[in-house]
Amino acid sequence: MASGKEIRTKIASIKSTQKITRAMEMVAASKMRRAQDRMRKSRPYANKIRKVIGHLAHAHPEYRHTYMIPRDNVKRVGVIIVSSDRGLCGGLNSNLFKATLNKMKEWRNQNIDIQLCTIGNKASAFFKRFGGNITAQAAQLGDTPQLEDLIGTVKVMLDDYQAGKIDQLFVIYNHFINTMSQAPQVQQLLPIQAEELDDKLKHHWDYLYEPEAQTVLDGLLMRYVESLVYQAVVENLACEQAARMVAMKSASDNAGDIIGDLQLAYNKARQASITQELSEIVAGAAAV
């Protein structure tokens, strides 16, 4: 059995680990609240722009944008993978990568090439090691991601789509269900899938465009894709904080369990040594 002193140092070291995990848990909890807030705030824009795109898809513009026309022959797809910058958040990123690899396998089986764009350090590191064709990358977005940080990354993929280098564009991110559960989600960005509309707008009509249809649609559709990616990033951030909070909570609980066990072992060892000492003294006295 380990000696008393050894167990004491072990208990002390686990206690300091527990202090760290507990602090991280509390930090993650407060950051999660803010991230959820941001997620909620970005929703109206996404909803509104989706509605406008829905109207647009059912209008009869003189100019149909390439982003809205599905291509028959898909040879190459673009994937934007949204991950976290830092680890210690449970299985969040590995689940995401597992889902991504499954999807990539599906595409490979259909002989479709894949082009990646990674957001967040974890995805960059993973797909670099795994070997993927990464064409654009963004990382260190921090706790308050700005749309500006994503414009460049998204534009690379949009340009490739326009140039015919990729035929479909997807984004993969963690969907925030609630604090305890997050699920990887694959969403198609391009070509744009319009929602069904109410009958009111089904008759023949078109917008008045200013300056002209092409410029306006370019700007609108670009913003639409960007807003979807932005929302994915914000949602992934909320997921990251929630997952970290849960992971750190269970780490603190585990540390508590281990400390309890060690304390018991320490007490037993102490008692044993006292008993032994006593019996030695008694035996010694008897011998004299």
């Binding site: 109206p44 406008v52 109207h55 990464i134 654009a136 500006e148 414009i151 460049g152 200013e210 306006v216």
Partner: protein, 141 residues
């Protein structure tokens, strides 16, 4: 009572305004436009400028937008305001930057890659140390 139109002003990072207005003045790319209720469907880009809303009862509201999009349906006006400064060459520069970051990531072998390898090596060293410790404590007994 005058007719009103529902106005939503949103940016990617927050909802700015949602409510009824009698008149919307917005800085469209070809010049200021005034939108009254039951306007024909209209889609335009916005320049940086101020959006004025005339609310019922002589109230007015103004918002600054740094560009964006304006959509008009007969009973709904939607303004999608930009939060970022947008210009073709700025976007282009950002795209180039994103590409170079990816290239750097792939060519730079001592950035993220070494980090993961260091983690693996650390884990190995820890395992070795642990076995060593176990071995030592066995000998002592």
């Amino acid at each position: 009572m005058a007719m009103t139109v529902h106005v939503d002003i949103v940016s990617a990072e927050a909802e700015i305004y949602s409510g009824l207005a009698e008149l919307v003045l917005a800085p469209a790319s070809e010049g200021e436009v005034g939108i009254l209720p039951r306007h024909a469907p209209f889609l335009s880009q916005l320049k940086p400028g101020t959006v004025h809303l005339k609310l019922s009862g002589d109230h007015e509201e103004s918002f600054y937008v740094s560009g964006g999009m304006l959509e008009v349906q007969p009973h709904v006006v939607t303004i999608l305001a930009d939060t970022a400064v947008r210009a073709h060459d700025i976007d282009e520069a950002a795209a180039v930057e994103a590409k170079t970051r990816a290239e750097k990531l792939l060519s730079d072998s001592n950035a993220a890659f070494d980090y993961t390898r260091a983690q693996v090596e650390l884990a190995e060293a820890m395992a070795q140390l642990q076995t060593l410790q176990r071995f030592r404590s066995k000998i002592r007994k």
